[in-house]
Symmetry: C2
Subunit: 681 residues, 2 copies
């Protein structure tokens, strides 16, 4: 492709630069430097983007990810020009409370593919978007029917490249030979601490070659439009390698402070803005100006062709649906974000007569049962497949066909020992749309390695699932480096996050039921290494409420509430207490978040007034006071040893629980007991 | 160096292999594969290690880090042979509860330099050890007096190389030209998911060359002792580059399952162990056998020379101390792990008449005041120096002298945008000894990126400090991607972790006082971006207790407890309440962990019976119930906007607090109120 650029293109680029600078100036807050350097590349990419601003969810759109999310004024400028629901007035409210142009791009805004800002995430999300596209294309494209051929473009800066999460995702992207991924590295040699020389002197191009990427270089990203276009064209032809285009730019191009870190994160001075406008041929006294010919260019060269491609795509889908009615219906269902009817019937149910099984194994059975019903399910593990039990029997690995190890229609991803990369990639897969349900396995303790991406899943509302096995000291010999303590407290404190810790088979089924049904909330499912019995009183119907009474008793002396592997021990503790004529109700609370959605009436029936509540869980007690008056937990690190011995040494036994229950009853004997659920505000 | 190896060397290597296999077999749990492949390299390294098993803390010892910590049976074998306090009986108790040989190596065991197991950490710690050595040498070595010239050796596997944290640390190590760091990559091509081909096909050697490392290759690490020795010798000569030796080995070398992932994480079958012993010329029916000539070799070639080097080093130190009495005394003080007398007098104190200042700025003043007194202080930032305010005015950067940007005696580290790497490096610096006090800055929200390393700091007891600025929605326009919510709840739930959130200058001084004095507990110091007033009632003496009564009032209706930036708003709320004749006590609780160390009597004086307690903090409420009956917090994500507007919209104002206080008082009016500190068990 050889593209001709006109004076209007240059005018458009100046417009983008100044619109971005004006946003930051109006807010007197933000990052003008990167937009000034990156405007040419943004313009050139946009000119070839498949997009329809009226249908930002179109599954075959090209995706653009701004991994250096602090440059968001640039993205808002692009979305405005290309017809998204973002007016000049919106741009003027940049970084103001309630604005559609917040300080970093947020996923819920049409046209923003992923929330970025925390560095390294966007480029890793882009790997996930590219994986999803490759999978979708390999699954549904047919000879003469190309339903998916979109690209994922990403901008990233030095900061993104320094973050380990991007190293993990980039190494995997090279392994997977994702030719649909094109990343433009804004090589401006400036970070907040000054020149990149102070900390970042590695050879980035060589590193990406080592990962198996195609690496190109544009020497003058500020002005050489033809070179940028040529590099992107070359990248598109690199079908079996992702491409990194190192594009040397000047941060704050045109500003009096160009090339220094002072243009990175603060508004330009008014005089500087004025000289910039004069330099670019604009009226220095006007702001937020878009010449009509720029709107016209975007309309005729970007929006109209995009709408036409969108319409053609819909026609192809209709013809496809005639020839392949089942697949066509499946695509339409997925694009509508609906699960197949009756899928949940495949979730297994258990009775107390069924044998004791580790919940990680019960999770495997769920995945095995539902995988054929849910083609949108795409799972994997961070190199713990045989421990996490995340792979179903017939699974085909998602691998480049040339590897001989699988193909792109495969739905099982070998993430390698890359927890953070995995979680960020899962966010990208989810953000692709088409109802993708991404799950990934690791030990619960190492979900913490992925905290940065897990937080963004919750903030963005990606309904991904972390299959988090080995969820306590119950893992035994591996010891305290592998035994989570603070982990559930951490993620329960994260807004919009389900944290399931099922106690048996029915609860595992319930956890998956809620996690897969939920459209905007991620879920951690914490699973045991050790076998657990199927409990009397458990049911999928109860457990989907997040909490329920497992065993009721009249005139109870105490409510014992527990989760996961401690629930069955608690049941035994209640039996022990009954021998002393102490009546204990038992509540199972597998997920706080889901329980909190239930009616107040229901919640108070689970935790009624008048009965002291004691929680039992071999993890940090923090957070339990929301439901329990007293907590028996583990506010210390664990120990290496056989699991039963570790449990015993820390008194997580029927006796240990019963003793504490008795003390709790005695403590509250002469006191008025109100449910912790009652709150003054 | 050209080393000759004898039959006894081969016997020693077989002994190491079998001792390791026997440990795993006795426990029927553990990882035999890596020790079998790595025993030759371990033996060869040990033969040139400077060590004194009777003085494992000797500051000029060579360090060995087992980054692939699951191979710990190997390390225990080496420590046993080289005379550390680890008997054959101890080896027999491998992975048993209370054993000195836990499932992964733990820092508190003599000879274990850092706790490893969570992958990627050890090699990153090794970078920290190498930084500390370079700094110590540059600070104290004098012509004719070499007090520090030790090496850091590390083993790492494919898993460590896939983890992003190791990428971050390795990139920085290359930048810093750490010639004292020698890493041996166990290229055995096997991970838990099987062949590394499934996920890890990058060119590791090229990647490390891109980082600026010297890269060597040993083709047969199983048997070619001369090649291993030669590579290590060459690595030692690489004075201005760290070295990665890619050593191709066979996992489970000698086992019937050699080269497969089934030898990775499970004991060998009894028959396999027997054939292995026969193959290596040992009696197949005996276990834990060490031929006397192997003990003799370790004694004469490793222990005795090490003790001699230790004695010589002490003589050098004595002579050095005569010539440089101040420096000599300083070294002795540091090696003893003592801070200088009176250092704490440099901590600034404030009165309410002093002006309002952001606590991040107050932190800068502390660092400025104490830096000249504490040569062991070595700080930095993950590319947020100008935001974290972590650099004192006269600071010299820790940089390779050839960069022209600093030197190795510099004590300010430009970590780049590498939070996880920074935290893991800080652990290594701390583990070096010599009383190093490492601190590192980032935004509070991005301490979460470093969770894996922060957890290991707490587990290992490294007294490092995270200078965590921008600690709430008070950061304003950057918005919810940057505003912490769950972060304090997360780290407060982590055992052995101080989490300070000081409210004014005196509390900032107190936070540093406790954090720097503490020898075995890391500290997060959460600091505001926005200005905060100096409070009536605050003092360093009070704040060092972790919590105290800021304003007492008789016959109080309520206790309001708060931290950081909300404390002054709470003071204003109390004034507002006073207008309605409501009496509010005010408690400041800057660090839960430190407060929990105080006497029960003191704690109950702070939170007495009979007065309902309400907490106020613009972060997740989880965890506050330990002290407060009710909590006003933020269990949702924040928003992008001007900080005062964000505060107001979420009602963190005197009015918002007062209204909730009134509701709390009304709620508890007719109820018996006991302090949350009372517990039945």
């Amino acid at each position: 492709m050889s593209q001709q650029f006109t004076e209007v293109d240059k005018l458009a680029i100046s417009t983008i630069r100044l619109l971005s600078v004006d946003q930051v100036a109006a807010a007197n807050s933000g990052h003008p430097g990167a937009p000034l350097g990156l405007a040419p590349a943004a313009h050139i990419i946009w000119k070839q983007m498949k997009l329809n601003p009226s249908h930002p969810e179109w599954v075959n759109r090209d995706r653009f990810v701004l991994s250096n999310g602090h440059a968001c004024a640039l993205l808002y400028s692009m979305l405005h020009l290309s017809g998204y629901d973002l007016s000049i007035e919106d741009l003027k409210s940049f970084r103001q409370l309630g604005s559609k142009c917040p300080g970093h791009p947020e996923y819920e805004l049409p046209g923003v593919e992923v929330t970025t800002g925390p560095l390294g995430q966007g480029i890793s999300n882009a790997v996930g978007l590219a994986i999803a596209q490759a999978n979708f294309a390999a699954t549904y494209n047919k000879p003469d029917y190309t339903l998916s051929d979109s690209y994922t473009f990403a901008f990233l800066g030095d900061g993104c490249l320094q973050e380990g999460v991007s190293s993990e995702a980039s190494s995997l992207a090279g392994h997977l030979k994702l030719g649909n991924l094109i990343a433009l590295y804004d090589d401006n040699q400036i970070t907040i601490d000054g020149d990149t020389n102070v900390s970042f002197t590695e050879d980035v191009e060589k590193r990406y070659e080592a990962y198996g990427w195609e690496v190109l270089h544009v020497a003058n990203g500020n002005e050489d439009l033809a070179a940028i276009a040529q590099a992107i064209s070359q990248a598109k032809q690199s079908k079996d390698k992702p491409t990194l285009i190192k594009m040397t730019t000047t941060i704050g191009f045109g500003s009096l402070q160009a090339g220094t870190h002072s243009v990175h994160g603060a508004a330009l001075k008014p005089d500087d803005v004025k000289q910039l406008k004069t330099k670019f041929g604009f009226n220095p006294d006007q702001s937020f100006v878009v010449p009509q010919e720029v709107y016209d260019l975007y309309n005729t060269q970007i929006i109209q062709p995009g709408v036409q491609q969108f319409n053609e795509w819909n026609q192809v889908l209709e013809k496809y649906s005639e020839k392949y009615p089942d697949l066509g219906a499946e695509i339409k269902r997925r694009v509508a974000g609906e699960l197949p009817q009756d899928w949940a019937k495949a979730l297994p149910r258990y009775t107390p007569q069924d044998s004791a099984v580790a919940t990680r194994k019960l999770s495997e059975i769920v995945l095995q049962n539902i995988q054929s019903l849910l083609p949108e399910m795409i799972g994997g593990s961070a190199d713990l497949t045989s421990s996490n039990l995340t792979r179903w029997k017939e699974a085909v690995d998602f691998q480049p066909p040339s590897s001989g190890l699988g193909d792109y229609a495969g739905r099982y991803i070998r993430y390698g020992v890359r927890e953070h990369g995995m979680a960020a990639i899962m966010n990208g897969i989810s953000a692709f749309g088409a109802n993708y349900k991404a799950y990934g396995g690791t030990f619960l303790n190492f979900v913490s390695y992925a905290s940065g991406a897990v937080r963004l899943a919750a903030l963005s509302g990606h309904p991904v699932i972390y299959v988090a096995t080995h969820d306590s000291i119950g893992l035994g010999e591996d010891g305290p480096t592998h035994q989570p303590i603070e982990t559930l407290a951490h993620f329960r404190a994260l807004p919009n996050m389900q944290v399931w810790r099922p106690a048996d088979g029915n609860e595992v089924s319930a956890a998956y039921h809620v996690a897969l049904t939920n459209k905007h909330t991620p879920a951690i499912i914490a699973l045991s290494r050790q076998n657990l019995p199927q409990l009397e009183g458990s049911s999928v119907e109860n457990a989907v409420k997040g909490g329920y009474v497992l065993q009721e008793v009249e005139n109870a002396d105490i409510t014992l509430v527990s989760t996961g592997s401690e629930l069955s021990i608690t049941v035994d503790a209640a039996k022990k207490l009954a021998e002393s004529n102490i009546k204990a109700r038992i509540v199972s609370l597998p997920d706080f978040h889901t329980f909190d959605q239930q009616s107040e009436e229901y919640q108070l029936a689970v935790f009624p007034d008048g009965v002291p509540v004691m929680s039992i869980e071999v993890l940090a007690t923090s957070g339990w006071a929301k439901y329990a008056h007293e907590s028996f937990g583990l506010d210390r690190f664990g120990a290496s040893g056989k699991a039963p011995e570790v449990y015993k040494s820390l008194e997580f036994t029927p006796e240990g629980i019963a003793t504490r229950a008795e003390k709790t009853i005695a403590f509250y004997k002469d006191k008025q007991v109100i449910s912790p659920l009652h709150k003054p505000f």
